[in-house]
């Protein structure tokens, strides 16, 4: 199957190709169009140069760098504790996960032991933030497809999560909560009840949204079979997270290379399934936009499962280890990846015994995921570009760093 893929449009999609004849008919001359950096469906300041032929996109080249803030360089000039807030601004939709990765990497380098309660709180926060991030993705994807209403629903649920975050750390977007050695403060009173309440409320909503959007005929028609990424391509382009799993690769760091305490929880890894299976429309191809979108919807359910278990097991105790006031980054090198909301978020930290690390390098999943865009956006319609980009779900803060 791999060798059949020629230009990102596998041959097996013959009847979709047949439908595209209409698009081919409008072929006239090549047009260079600037999609972004202020385009509504590029999710931030991504700029795509589209070489189109009428409505048919021949090539889409991403131009990045509009949100570059020298995050890595800053990381080399501030102490690890000071750098944690900067990580919030990488993937600003899932700040907790960013904090988490960096903290884990520093802790590993410095050999710090994190208290048990803090570990659970970290998992709670990461999974909640994953849900929040996927909700944004879900809502915006609907918006990209021209369905406005799901966006508002998604944001309504996200509000509740942000309320929880606000109660926990006082912030709604950039938390600086998961810090080196644990979390900055303990959970507020009554948090467990609120969270349990929220989970009970939220879980059935996922099915509702599936019925509302995922199985909508038009939505399926728009997304299924569009932007198919084969497993081989996904691996070759270094795709991670939902984008990789949608291509049928069962790879999730939380399960495959367990970090923190993820090995203590039961959860499944949702992957892309070919059309015809239960709950999957017939038109769906493994690795298409619908699969990427739907993997996120299923991941929210899994996160709810993890949250429930973590809440049950949540121990009492310290929320933070004793961290020396003047933490020195020991000489050495550590590279650590966590499963962020968008994929594998990696931190490479090289220390040389000073207060500041000598080198900080961040592997942003969005950056790698975006690299597939050119490959996939060949001979698709302009509307499909929005569908593909939305399903890749990039956050420009992380791409540009």
């Amino acid at each position: 199957m791999e060798d059949k893929v020629v230009h990102g449009q596998p041959d097996l999609l013959t009847d979709f190709d047949r439908q595209r004849v209409a698009a081919d008919d409008l072929r006239t001359e090549e047009l260079l169009i600037n999609m972004g950096p202020q385009h509504p469906s590029t999710h931030g300041v991504l700029r795509l140069m589209l070489r189109t032929d009428g409505e048919l996109v021949l090539e889409a080249i991403p131009h990045i760098g509009y949100l570059h803030r020298c995050a890595e360089k800053i990381g080399e000039n501030v102490t690890p504790v000071q750098f944690v807030p900067y990580t919030d601004r990488l993937d600003y939709l899932a700040g907790m996960n960013n904090n988490h990765g960096y903290s884990l990497a520093i802790e590993k380098l410095c050999g710090l032991e994190v208290p048990e309660r803090a570990r659970y709180i970290r998992v709670l926060m990461c999974e909640l933030n994953r849900i929040a991030s996927h909700l944004v993705s879900f809502g915006c994807y609907g918006l990209d497809m021209g369905a406005f209403t799901p966006f508002l629903y998604a944001f309504r649920e996200r509000e509740y999560i942000l309320d929880l975050f606000e109660a926990t750390c006082g912030q709604r977007l950039t938390y600086n909560y998961l810090s080196i050695g644990g979390v900055t403060q303990d959970l507020p009173g009554g948090f467990a009840d609120k969270l349990a309440h929220f989970l009970d409320y939220f879980e059935p909503k996922i099915d509702e949204y599936n019925n509302l959007l995922s199985y909508n005929y038009i939505f399926v028609k728009r997304t299924a079979g569009v932007g198919v990424v084969s497993a081989a391509d996904a691996l070759a382009y270094g795709l991670t997270g939902p984008c990789l799993r949608a291509s049928g690769v069962k790879w999730d760091l939380r399960r495959c290379v367990p970090y923190e305490i993820y090995d203590r929880f039961e959860f499944d890894i949702p992957i892309g399934i070919a059309g015809g299976a239960i709950g999957v429309p017939r038109e769906v191809v493994v690795g298409d936009s619908w699969s990427r979108y739907f993997v996120r919807m299923q991941e929210m359910k899994q996160s709810v499962r993890i949250l429930r278990q973590a809440l049950q097991q949540l121990p009492a105790g310290e929320f933070r280890a004793k961290v020396p006031a003047a933490l020195k980054v020991p000489a050495g090198e550590v590279y650590l990846e966590v499963e962020g909301a968008r994929g594998q978020l990696g931190y490479l930290i090289v220390g040389d015994g000073k207060k500041t690390p000598r080198r900080v390098k961040i592997r942003g999943p969005s950056f790698c995921n975006l690299s597939i865009a050119t490959h996939v956006c060949r001979r698709v319609l302009i509307a499909d570009v929005a569908a593909i980009l939305g399903s890749i779900d990039v956050v420009m803060g992380e791409v540009d760093r």
Partner: protein
């Protein structure tokens, strides 16, 4: 400005010193004018001949001016009080205006009836001629009803008390009374076509502007409710009713931006090309059998033609913007439009074929016999044609899920990308006017036009009764209110779809048209033809089909009502069961 209200506007306009001065000026002026009016009135009572009329006119003018000035003084003096009351009643006034405009439908009809009857009375039935004021004066209000009935069968209007008719059915001509003279002067211009046309034009323009403003606000409210939010709430007080007006004012003040390299004249012209046909098609759109600006024998074609021309404005806008997104939008519009006009036309042919006329009033009149006589329920094919028509009009009006020309998530804002301010709003006026027009067209062609679901002949007795009976008849059985209601219903369905469905891709739009709707509409047309040929009216099959389709229609209506009631009674539950009270201090 978040809390800007009408009250604020009223309050901020007047500085401390200006207010008493204005009040004083207006009060004095008012009193002077009132005295003048009284004097002229005195003169009028004694002056002979032409002087009498001059004095009467003067009295009237001076009286009106005096009332205006005194009123102004009062309003300014008690501006806070008035503002508050206005503020409270504002929405009522707004909605009342809307309804009033619709009700005004009757007023011209009423007056025209009087004048036509007078002409008929004077020159004989069916003849034409020009009446002088004196003729009208002599006729007065006592007009025979039978001539009215002959000329305006089924029209809603006012009829004089029947006791003023003598045994021969002729009016008893009373002596000229001063009120009769006023009326005669007022009615005299109405016998000319030009006057009526100008009045109708004014009505149409007023209706379209009000309609667009109301619909934009309504759409935002509906969208809000669908998305578990409130929609506009601030401007105007009650549920932000003045939002569209505020937006309009804002848009008027905005800078009119042109792009460097845009084709300026075309760029400026395009919104008008889009707007004018949308406005003009109301000229041939009957609001009821009596209230129509021009009852064309090809009314349907006329409306179709104008709807087709309006598209050109959008296309030209896209082209003239010198923006590739706009260009793409324009191309989408062009190919979508050309494709969907064909199934639209086919679907339209079905009622035309069934009724055998292109005159919209004639098509409407055929559906007077109640719910089951509505054209959509005549056969399975007319029902299918109604559905096809509605779908095609969605595409024709660029409404979701066919809103590709402006597809904001794909083409930024499509053809409207480079437009701002008033020109931008003109496109939206056109769009909403057209939406209402196709909804009304659907009602006229398929869903009983201006008739209520009740058979009109149930109220036939009221048609000749006193004014209140005739008004009741107009509300219950037959009248522009029903058409407006139906038009708004279809408009609501369009809004409903927009906030529910994702957008279709271009190739799917074309596929849906060429491969699905086109053959389907051809089949429906063919089926309707054979139905008309082979199933005689009143045969068993026809009756069964009619009843089945009617049952379907009734079911749909009941389902919608049921859903509405369910939604309304469960409105608290639907929003969400979670209420996280905020932590203290957060």
């Amino acid at each position: 400005m978040a809390n800007f209200t009408v009250e604020d506007a009223l309050r901020s306009r007047w500085s401390a010193s200006a207010k008493p001065r204005a009040v004083r000026t207006f009060a004095v002026l008012g009193i002077v004018l009132a005295v003048a009016a009284l004097g002229l009135g005195y003169l009028a009572s004694s002056a002979p001949g032409a002087g009498y009329w001059l004095a009467v006119l003067g009295t009237a003018l001076a009286g009106v001016a005096a009332m205006t000035c005194l009123g102004a003084a009062f309003v300014i003096q008690f501006s806070r009080l008035v503002g508050t009351w206005l503020f409270r009643l504002a929405f009522l006034i707004f909605v009342g205006g809307l309804v009033g405009i619709a009700l005004l439908a009757w007023v011209p009809a009423l007056l025209y009836e009087q004048v036509d009857a007078a002409v008929a009375d004077h020159y004989g039935a069916g003849a034409t001629g020009v009446l002088t004021v004196a003729d009208l004066e002599a006729v007065g209000w006592a007009l025979p009803t039978d001539s009215i009935e002959v000329r305006r069968q089924g029209a809603v209007g006012w009829a004089p008390p029947t006791d003023s008719i003598d045994g021969r059915g002729k009016a008893v001509v009373g002596s000229a009374h001063p009120t009769a003279s006023f009326l005669a002067y007022a009615l005299w211009p109405l016998q000319f076509r030009l006057t009526r046309d100008i009045l109708a034009l004014v009505g149409v323009v007023g209706f379209v502007s009000l309609l667009a403003m109301f619909t934009i606000w309504w759409e935002r409210k509906v969208a809000g409710r669908m998305q578990s939010r409130l929609g506009p709430m601030r401007v105007g007080g009650w549920h932000g009713w003045a939002q569209s007006m505020a937006d309009g004012i804002k848009l008027l003040q905005k800078e009119d931006i042109y792009l460097e390299g845009a084709d300026r004249p075309l760029f400026k012209l395009a919104p008008y090309i889009a707007f004018m046909p949308a406005l003009a098609l109301f000229l041939a759109l009957p609001f009821s059998a009596a209230w129509i600006c021009r009852d064309l024998d090809i009314g349907l074609l006329f409306i179709l033609a104008l709807a087709g021309i309006g598209v050109l404005g959008v296309i030209v806008a896209g082209w003239a913007s010198n923006n590739k997104w706009s260009l793409l939008g324009a191309m989408r519009e062009a190919c979508q439009m050309i494709s969907y006009e064909i199934p639209l036309g086919f679907a339209l042919l079905v009622p035309v074929m069934t009724t055998g006329t292109l005159r919209l009033t004639a098509i409407g009149e055929l559906q007077a016999g109640g719910f089951h006589t509505w054209l959509a329920f005549q056969s399975p094919f007319t029902l299918a044609a109604a559905v096809l028509f509605f779908t095609a009009t969605l595409a024709a009006c660029k409404r979701a899920p066919f809103d590709l020309p402006e597809a904001e998530s794909e083409l930024v804002a499509g053809v409207y990308t480079e437009y701002s301010g008033f020109r931008w709003s003109l496109f939206f006026f056109a769009e909403y006017a057209e939406m209402f027009a196709v909804g009304a067209l659907a009602a006229i062609l398929f869903f009983g036009a201006w008739y209520s679901p009740l058979p009109a002949n149930w109220g036939a007795a009221w048609l000749h009764g006193p004014l209140w009976q005739r008004a009741l008849y107009g509300i219950l059985f037959n009248g522009p209110l029903w058409l407006i209601f139906k038009g708004f219903f279809f408009l609501f369905v369009q809004i409903w779809l927009r906030w529910t469905l994702p957008r279709i891709r271009l190739d799917q739009v074309m596929y849906a048209c060429v491969q699905v709707m086109l053959p389907l509409s051809m089949l429906v047309l063919l089926g309707a033809t054979f139905w008309a040929l082979l199933v005689p009216h009143g045969s068993m099959l026809a009756v069964v089909a009619n009843l089945a389709c009617t049952a379907l229609g009734v079911g749909a209506v009941l389902a919608i009502i049921g859903i509405v009631f369910y939604g309304y009674s469960n409105r608290r539950q639907l929003v969400g069961t979670l209420a996280i009270e905020h932590w203290p201090g957060s």
